[in-house]
Protein backbone atom coordinates (compact mmCIF):
# COMPACT_ATOMS: atom_id res chain seq x y z
CA UNK A 1 0.00 0.00 0.00
CA UNK A 2 2.69 2.50 1.01
CA UNK A 3 4.84 1.51 -1.97
CA UNK A 4 1.93 2.21 -4.31
CA UNK A 5 1.44 5.66 -2.80
CA UNK A 6 5.14 6.33 -3.19
CA UNK A 7 5.11 5.47 -6.90
CA UNK A 8 1.90 7.40 -7.52
CA UNK A 9 3.25 10.45 -5.74
CA UNK A 10 6.52 10.43 -7.65
CA UNK A 11 4.67 10.07 -10.94
CA UNK A 12 2.34 12.91 -10.00
CA UNK A 13 5.18 15.24 -9.04
CA UNK A 14 6.99 14.54 -12.30
CA UNK A 15 3.92 15.42 -14.33
CA UNK A 16 3.29 18.44 -12.16
CA UNK A 17 6.80 19.81 -12.53
CA UNK A 18 6.81 19.33 -16.28
CA UNK A 19 3.49 21.11 -16.64
CA UNK A 20 4.59 23.80 -14.21
CA UNK A 21 7.86 24.54 -15.95
CA UNK A 22 6.21 24.64 -19.35
CA UNK A 23 3.63 27.12 -18.13
CA UNK A 24 6.19 29.21 -16.31
CA UNK A 25 8.22 29.46 -19.48
CA UNK A 26 5.09 30.72 -21.20
CA UNK A 27 4.06 33.43 -18.76
CA UNK A 28 5.35 34.13 -15.28
CA UNK A 29 2.99 36.38 -13.40
CA UNK A 30 4.43 36.50 -9.91
CA UNK A 31 7.46 35.36 -7.93
CA UNK A 32 8.74 35.89 -4.44
CA UNK A 33 11.27 34.98 -1.81
CA UNK A 34 11.21 34.63 1.97
CA UNK A 35 14.08 34.39 4.43
CA UNK A 36 13.30 33.18 7.93
CA UNK A 37 15.57 32.75 10.96
CA UNK A 38 14.75 31.45 14.45
CA UNK A 39 16.90 31.06 17.54
CA UNK A 40 15.93 29.39 20.82
CA UNK A 41 18.41 29.02 23.63
CA UNK A 42 18.94 28.42 27.34
CA UNK A 43 21.98 27.79 29.54
CA UNK A 44 22.92 24.42 27.99
CA UNK A 45 20.98 24.08 24.69
CA UNK A 46 21.14 26.36 21.64
CA UNK A 47 18.92 25.86 18.59
CA UNK A 48 19.12 27.91 15.40
CA UNK A 49 17.15 27.55 12.22
CA UNK A 50 17.48 29.52 8.96
CA UNK A 51 15.36 28.98 5.88
CA UNK A 52 14.96 30.27 2.36
CA UNK A 53 11.74 29.88 0.35
CA UNK A 54 11.40 30.86 -3.30
CA UNK A 55 8.13 30.67 -5.19
CA UNK A 56 7.09 31.21 -8.77
CA UNK A 57 3.47 31.50 -9.90
CA UNK A 58 1.70 31.74 -13.21
CA UNK A 59 -1.99 31.91 -13.98
CA UNK A 60 -2.33 28.15 -13.48
CA UNK A 61 0.67 26.89 -11.51
CA UNK A 62 2.62 27.53 -8.35
CA UNK A 63 6.06 26.10 -7.60
CA UNK A 64 7.84 26.54 -4.25
CA UNK A 65 11.41 25.60 -3.42
CA UNK A 66 12.55 25.65 0.22
CA UNK A 67 15.85 24.99 1.96
CA UNK A 68 16.53 25.03 5.70
CA UNK A 69 19.70 24.80 7.76
CA UNK A 70 19.43 23.89 11.45
CA UNK A 71 22.16 24.04 14.10
CA UNK A 72 21.84 22.22 17.42
CA UNK A 73 24.39 22.85 20.15
CA UNK A 74 24.26 21.12 23.54
CA UNK A 75 26.43 21.14 26.66
CA UNK A 76 26.11 17.43 27.35
CA UNK A 77 26.27 16.64 31.07
CA UNK A 78 25.97 13.05 32.30
CA UNK A 79 24.08 12.17 35.48
CA UNK A 80 26.15 12.40 38.70
CA UNK A 81 26.03 8.62 39.11
CA UNK A 82 27.48 8.07 35.61
CA UNK A 83 31.25 7.59 36.17
CA UNK A 84 31.96 6.58 32.56
CA UNK A 85 30.69 9.59 30.57
CA UNK A 86 32.28 13.03 30.39
CA UNK A 87 30.75 16.50 29.95
CA UNK A 88 31.25 17.69 26.37
CA UNK A 89 29.96 20.39 24.03
CA UNK A 90 28.48 18.87 20.88
CA UNK A 91 27.21 20.66 17.80
CA UNK A 92 25.21 19.16 14.95
CA UNK A 93 24.06 20.73 11.69
CA UNK A 94 21.23 19.46 9.55
CA UNK A 95 19.97 20.46 6.13
CA UNK A 96 16.55 19.96 4.59
CA UNK A 97 14.99 20.87 1.25
CA UNK A 98 11.57 20.61 -0.34
CA UNK A 99 9.85 21.24 -3.65
CA UNK A 100 6.10 21.91 -3.91
CA UNK A 101 3.99 22.16 -7.05
CA UNK A 102 0.32 23.15 -7.28
CA UNK A 103 -1.82 23.23 -10.38
CA UNK A 104 -4.68 25.76 -10.40
CA UNK A 105 -7.14 24.26 -12.83
CA UNK A 106 -10.20 25.91 -14.28
CA UNK A 107 -12.34 23.80 -11.96
CA UNK A 108 -12.58 24.16 -8.17
CA UNK A 109 -9.98 21.41 -7.64
CA UNK A 110 -6.23 22.04 -7.35
CA UNK A 111 -3.83 19.09 -7.13
CA UNK A 112 -0.82 19.53 -4.85
CA UNK A 113 2.47 17.60 -4.62
CA UNK A 114 5.53 18.03 -2.41
CA UNK A 115 8.81 16.10 -2.26
CA UNK A 116 11.48 16.71 0.36
CA UNK A 117 14.40 15.31 2.28
CA UNK A 118 16.79 16.06 5.14
CA UNK A 119 20.13 14.98 6.52
CA UNK A 120 21.13 15.41 10.16
CA UNK A 121 19.55 15.31 13.60
CA UNK A 122 16.06 16.78 13.76
CA UNK A 123 15.95 17.71 17.48
CA UNK A 124 18.24 18.25 20.45
CA UNK A 125 16.87 15.27 22.38
CA UNK A 126 18.10 12.84 19.72
CA UNK A 127 21.52 14.55 19.81
CA UNK A 128 21.65 14.23 23.60
CA UNK A 129 20.68 10.54 23.46
CA UNK A 130 23.14 9.83 20.65
CA UNK A 131 25.94 11.33 22.76
CA UNK A 132 24.76 9.34 25.80
CA UNK A 133 24.93 6.00 23.92
CA UNK A 134 28.14 6.96 22.08
CA UNK A 135 30.03 7.60 25.31
CA UNK A 136 28.74 4.46 26.99
CA UNK A 137 28.87 1.93 24.14
CA UNK A 138 31.04 3.15 21.23
CA UNK A 139 33.71 0.48 21.95
CA UNK A 140 31.19 -2.29 22.58
CA UNK A 141 30.45 -4.79 19.75
CA UNK A 142 27.14 -3.95 18.11
CA UNK A 143 27.46 -0.16 18.24
CA UNK A 144 27.13 1.48 14.79
CA UNK A 145 27.18 5.28 14.43
CA UNK A 146 24.37 6.65 12.27
CA UNK A 147 23.83 9.95 10.46
CA UNK A 148 20.07 10.48 10.52
CA UNK A 149 18.39 11.24 7.22
CA UNK A 150 14.96 10.97 5.64
CA UNK A 151 12.61 11.78 2.78
CA UNK A 152 8.96 12.66 2.40
CA UNK A 153 6.39 12.77 -0.37
CA UNK A 154 3.05 14.55 -0.10
CA UNK A 155 0.19 14.31 -2.57
CA UNK A 156 -3.25 15.78 -2.30
CA UNK A 157 -5.70 18.33 -3.48
CA UNK A 158 -7.55 21.48 -2.57
CA UNK A 159 -11.25 21.92 -3.24
CA UNK A 160 -12.87 25.36 -3.14
CA UNK A 161 -16.36 24.20 -2.24
CA UNK A 162 -17.73 27.71 -1.66
CA UNK A 163 -15.90 30.13 -3.98
CA UNK A 164 -14.06 32.84 -2.05
CA UNK A 165 -15.33 31.51 1.26
CA UNK A 166 -14.52 27.87 1.98
CA UNK A 167 -11.65 25.52 1.09
CA UNK A 168 -11.17 21.83 1.88
CA UNK A 169 -7.70 20.31 1.57
CA UNK A 170 -6.83 16.64 1.81
CA UNK A 171 -3.26 15.27 1.65
CA UNK A 172 -1.48 11.96 2.10
CA UNK A 173 2.12 12.02 3.32
CA UNK A 174 4.58 9.14 3.08
CA UNK A 175 7.80 9.56 5.04
CA UNK A 176 10.93 7.50 5.63
CA UNK A 177 13.40 8.20 8.45
CA UNK A 178 16.72 6.66 9.40
CA UNK A 179 17.41 7.60 13.02
CA UNK A 180 20.14 7.09 15.60
CA UNK A 181 18.80 4.16 17.63
CA UNK A 182 18.98 3.36 21.33
CA UNK A 183 21.07 0.50 22.72
CA UNK A 184 20.73 -2.02 25.50
CA UNK A 185 23.66 -4.11 26.80
CA UNK A 186 23.33 -7.90 26.94
CA UNK A 187 25.61 -10.19 28.96
CA UNK A 188 27.94 -12.10 26.60
CA UNK A 189 26.18 -10.79 23.48
CA UNK A 190 26.49 -7.73 21.20
CA UNK A 191 24.43 -4.67 22.04
CA UNK A 192 20.72 -4.85 21.37
CA UNK A 193 19.89 -2.01 18.92
CA UNK A 194 16.59 -0.20 18.78
CA UNK A 195 14.71 0.62 15.58
CA UNK A 196 16.82 2.46 13.03
CA UNK A 197 14.37 2.81 10.15
CA UNK A 198 10.89 4.27 10.53
CA UNK A 199 8.12 4.62 7.96
CA UNK A 200 5.26 7.02 8.47
CA UNK A 201 1.99 7.42 6.59
CA UNK A 202 -0.26 10.37 7.38
CA UNK A 203 -3.67 11.49 6.20
CA UNK A 204 -4.49 15.14 6.82
CA UNK A 205 -7.72 17.01 6.22
CA UNK A 206 -8.21 20.73 6.75
CA UNK A 207 -10.94 23.22 5.99
CA UNK A 208 -10.62 26.99 5.94
CA UNK A 209 -13.78 29.08 6.10
CA UNK A 210 -14.88 32.68 6.20
CA UNK A 211 -17.76 32.32 8.65
CA UNK A 212 -18.69 36.00 8.80
CA UNK A 213 -17.27 39.38 7.68
CA UNK A 214 -15.04 39.32 10.81
CA UNK A 215 -14.27 35.62 11.42
CA UNK A 216 -11.98 33.25 9.52
CA UNK A 217 -11.42 29.69 10.77
CA UNK A 218 -9.10 26.80 10.03
CA UNK A 219 -9.87 23.29 11.27
CA UNK A 220 -7.30 20.54 10.79
CA UNK A 221 -7.39 16.83 11.52
CA UNK A 222 -4.85 14.11 10.94
CA UNK A 223 -4.21 10.40 11.39
CA UNK A 224 -0.60 9.16 11.46
CA UNK A 225 0.80 5.64 11.39
CA UNK A 226 4.49 5.24 12.31
CA UNK A 227 6.46 1.99 12.55
CA UNK A 228 6.05 0.30 15.93
CA UNK A 229 3.95 3.15 17.34
CA UNK A 230 0.31 3.59 18.20
CA UNK A 231 -1.85 5.53 15.72
CA UNK A 232 -1.61 9.27 16.32
CA UNK A 233 -4.76 11.42 16.02
CA UNK A 234 -4.31 15.17 15.70
CA UNK A 235 -7.00 17.84 15.82
CA UNK A 236 -6.40 21.58 15.74
CA UNK A 237 -8.81 24.47 15.50
CA UNK A 238 -7.87 28.10 14.73
CA UNK A 239 -10.16 31.13 14.85
CA UNK A 240 -9.13 34.60 13.66
CA UNK A 241 -11.51 37.31 14.80
CA UNK A 242 -11.39 40.95 13.74
CA UNK A 243 -12.52 42.44 17.04
CA UNK A 244 -12.59 45.93 15.55
CA UNK A 245 -11.19 47.80 12.55
CA UNK A 246 -7.72 47.70 14.11
CA UNK A 247 -7.72 44.81 16.61
CA UNK A 248 -7.35 41.13 15.71
CA UNK A 249 -7.55 38.16 18.06
CA UNK A 250 -6.16 34.80 16.93
CA UNK A 251 -6.88 31.64 18.93
CA UNK A 252 -5.54 28.12 18.39
CA UNK A 253 -6.49 24.95 20.30
CA UNK A 254 -4.91 21.56 19.62
CA UNK A 255 -5.23 18.00 20.88
CA UNK A 256 -2.99 15.01 20.10
CA UNK A 257 -3.61 11.40 21.15
CA UNK A 258 -1.43 8.38 20.55
CA UNK A 259 -3.16 5.27 21.88
CA UNK A 260 -3.21 5.09 25.68
CA UNK A 261 0.44 6.10 25.81
CA UNK A 262 0.43 9.77 24.91
CA UNK A 263 -1.96 12.70 25.08
CA UNK A 264 -1.24 16.40 24.74
CA UNK A 265 -3.26 19.61 24.62
CA UNK A 266 -2.14 23.10 23.65
CA UNK A 267 -3.67 26.52 23.26
CA UNK A 268 -2.55 29.98 22.24
CA UNK A 269 -3.95 33.50 21.87
CA UNK A 270 -2.50 36.46 19.97
CA UNK A 271 -3.85 39.98 20.18
CA UNK A 272 -2.62 42.36 17.51
CA UNK A 273 -3.27 46.02 16.71
CA UNK A 274 -2.56 47.50 13.32
CA UNK A 275 -2.07 51.00 11.98
CA UNK A 276 -3.58 51.35 8.46
CA UNK A 277 -2.88 47.64 7.85
CA UNK A 278 0.80 48.57 7.46
CA UNK A 279 2.32 48.31 10.94
CA UNK A 280 1.19 45.52 13.28
CA UNK A 281 2.17 45.09 16.94
CA UNK A 282 1.00 42.26 19.12
CA UNK A 283 1.49 40.00 22.09
CA UNK A 284 0.83 36.29 22.32
CA UNK A 285 0.63 33.65 25.04
CA UNK A 286 0.75 29.91 24.59
CA UNK A 287 0.56 26.86 26.81
CA UNK A 288 1.20 23.17 26.22
CA UNK A 289 0.76 20.11 28.42
CA UNK A 290 1.24 16.39 27.89
CA UNK A 291 1.09 13.28 30.05
CA UNK A 292 4.59 12.11 29.12
CA UNK A 293 5.74 9.09 27.18
CA UNK A 294 6.66 6.91 30.15
CA UNK A 295 4.69 3.66 30.15
CA UNK A 296 6.19 1.88 33.17
CA UNK A 297 8.17 4.04 35.66
CA UNK A 298 9.84 0.95 37.15
CA UNK A 299 11.67 0.20 33.89
CA UNK A 300 14.66 2.34 32.89
CA UNK A 301 13.56 4.38 29.88
CA UNK A 302 14.64 7.41 27.86
CA UNK A 303 10.97 8.30 27.33
CA UNK A 304 10.05 11.82 28.41
CA UNK A 305 8.11 12.44 31.64
CA UNK A 306 5.09 14.73 31.61
CA UNK A 307 5.85 18.19 30.20
CA UNK A 308 4.26 21.62 30.63
CA UNK A 309 5.41 24.66 28.67
CA UNK A 310 4.53 28.36 28.67
CA UNK A 311 5.43 30.93 26.07
CA UNK A 312 5.10 34.71 25.94
CA UNK A 313 6.03 36.74 22.85
CA UNK A 314 5.93 40.28 21.51
CA UNK A 315 5.77 40.77 17.75
CA UNK A 316 6.23 43.64 15.30
CA UNK A 317 5.25 43.28 11.62
CA UNK A 318 5.28 45.56 8.61
CA UNK A 319 3.47 45.11 5.33
CA UNK A 320 4.50 47.14 2.29
CA UNK A 321 3.39 47.01 -1.33
CA UNK A 322 5.88 44.30 -2.34
CA UNK A 323 7.71 43.44 0.89
CA UNK A 324 7.01 42.56 4.50
CA UNK A 325 8.93 41.68 7.64
CA UNK A 326 8.40 40.28 11.12
CA UNK A 327 10.44 40.27 14.30
CA UNK A 328 9.36 38.40 17.42
CA UNK A 329 10.95 37.72 20.79
CA UNK A 330 10.05 36.42 24.22
CA UNK A 331 10.63 33.89 27.00
CA UNK A 332 9.69 30.21 26.93
CA UNK A 333 9.58 27.91 29.95
CA UNK A 334 9.67 24.09 29.96
CA UNK A 335 8.82 22.14 33.12
CA UNK A 336 9.06 18.33 33.39
CA UNK A 337 7.72 16.03 36.06
CA UNK A 338 10.55 14.43 38.08
CA UNK A 339 12.35 11.63 36.23
CA UNK A 340 11.65 8.16 37.70
CA UNK A 341 14.46 6.74 39.86
CA UNK A 342 15.04 3.90 37.39
CA UNK A 343 15.70 6.46 34.63
CA UNK A 344 17.84 8.90 36.60
CA UNK A 345 20.59 8.77 33.94
CA UNK A 346 18.32 10.98 31.79
CA UNK A 347 17.70 13.59 34.49
CA UNK A 348 19.85 16.23 32.76
CA UNK A 349 18.02 15.72 29.48
CA UNK A 350 14.63 16.22 31.10
CA UNK A 351 15.42 19.06 33.46
CA UNK A 352 13.46 22.31 33.69
CA UNK A 353 14.76 25.06 31.43
CA UNK A 354 14.15 28.80 30.94
CA UNK A 355 14.56 29.67 27.27
CA UNK A 356 14.73 32.87 25.22
CA UNK A 357 13.65 32.94 21.62
CA UNK A 358 14.01 35.39 18.74
CA UNK A 359 12.49 35.01 15.28
CA UNK A 360 12.57 37.08 12.14
CA UNK A 361 11.34 36.89 8.56
CA UNK A 362 11.56 39.03 5.45
CA UNK A 363 9.53 38.49 2.26
CA UNK A 364 9.66 40.08 -1.19
CA UNK A 365 7.36 39.82 -4.17
CA UNK A 366 8.91 40.54 -7.58
Amino acid sequence: MTGRWHVLSLAAVSVMLCVGMARMAAATTDSGATIEADALGCSDVHLEDAGLLADEATAHTQVELSATQTRIGIDYAPAPADFVSQPVYREENSTSAGLTGRLDTDSDLSPLVTVGGYRGFTDYRSVWLDEFYRQLFSIVPGYVPVTPHGWNVLAGGRWTYVPGTAILQCTVVEQGDTVSPGYEPQIGLPLLRGLERLRTTSLRISTENVLSPTVRTLLEGGVTYTTDRETRFTVQGSVNWAVSETLTLRTVVGDVTEGDEFHSVSGSMSLERDWSARWFAGISVRGYRDGGEVVDPVIASSAAPALRTRELAATLRWQGARASFRIEAGPYWTRYDPVALASSQYANLYRNRDWRHVEGAVSWTF
Binding site: T122, R232, T257
Partner: protein, 68 residues
Protein backbone atom coordinates in the same frame (compact mmCIF):
# COMPACT_ATOMS: atom_id res chain seq x y z
CA UNK B 1 -11.21 16.20 20.68
CA UNK B 2 -14.87 15.26 20.24
CA UNK B 3 -15.75 18.94 20.63
CA UNK B 4 -13.30 19.95 17.90
CA UNK B 5 -14.56 17.23 15.56
CA UNK B 6 -18.11 18.46 16.18
CA UNK B 7 -17.11 22.03 15.40
CA UNK B 8 -15.43 20.83 12.20
CA UNK B 9 -18.56 18.99 11.11
CA UNK B 10 -20.77 21.97 11.88
CA UNK B 11 -18.46 24.32 10.00
CA UNK B 12 -18.38 22.11 6.93
CA UNK B 13 -22.11 21.68 6.75
CA UNK B 14 -23.33 25.09 7.85
CA UNK B 15 -21.07 27.46 5.98
CA UNK B 16 -22.91 30.31 4.25
CA UNK B 17 -21.11 32.36 1.62
CA UNK B 18 -19.92 35.81 2.70
CA UNK B 19 -19.86 38.15 -0.33
CA UNK B 20 -16.39 39.22 -1.44
CA UNK B 21 -17.22 42.89 -0.89
CA UNK B 22 -17.80 42.08 2.80
CA UNK B 23 -14.45 40.29 3.22
CA UNK B 24 -12.23 43.35 3.71
CA UNK B 25 -11.60 42.60 7.39
CA UNK B 26 -10.89 38.88 6.95
CA UNK B 27 -8.50 39.58 4.04
CA UNK B 28 -6.09 41.67 6.10
CA UNK B 29 -2.66 39.99 6.23
CA UNK B 30 -2.95 39.14 9.94
CA UNK B 31 -6.36 37.49 9.40
CA UNK B 32 -5.04 35.00 6.82
CA UNK B 33 -3.40 31.62 7.54
CA UNK B 34 0.16 31.40 6.21
CA UNK B 35 2.90 28.80 6.42
CA UNK B 36 5.77 31.18 5.71
CA UNK B 37 6.66 34.83 5.81
CA UNK B 38 5.98 37.84 7.98
CA UNK B 39 2.45 36.79 8.94
CA UNK B 40 3.06 33.41 10.51
CA UNK B 41 2.17 32.79 14.15
CA UNK B 42 3.74 30.43 16.67
CA UNK B 43 7.31 29.38 17.34
CA UNK B 44 8.61 26.73 14.92
CA UNK B 45 11.42 25.40 17.13
CA UNK B 46 9.13 24.28 19.94
CA UNK B 47 8.38 21.14 17.93
CA UNK B 48 11.88 20.03 19.00
CA UNK B 49 10.77 20.10 22.63
CA UNK B 50 7.05 19.34 22.70
CA UNK B 51 6.31 15.83 21.40
CA UNK B 52 2.70 16.78 20.72
CA UNK B 53 3.50 19.89 18.68
CA UNK B 54 5.32 18.19 15.82
CA UNK B 55 3.04 18.18 12.79
CA UNK B 56 4.06 14.77 11.58
CA UNK B 57 4.52 11.37 13.11
CA UNK B 58 8.00 10.53 11.95
CA UNK B 59 11.34 11.05 13.56
CA UNK B 60 10.70 14.65 14.43
CA UNK B 61 7.50 13.83 16.23
CA UNK B 62 8.88 10.77 17.91
CA UNK B 63 11.85 12.54 19.40
CA UNK B 64 11.99 9.38 21.39
CA UNK B 65 13.47 7.11 18.76
CA UNK B 66 15.77 5.70 21.40
CA UNK B 67 13.02 5.09 23.95
CA UNK B 68 12.68 1.70 25.50
Amino acid sequence: MALLVGVMAATLSGCAAVPVWKQGQVSKPNMVFNDHGAFTYGMRLNSQIEPGSADNGGAAAAGCTACK
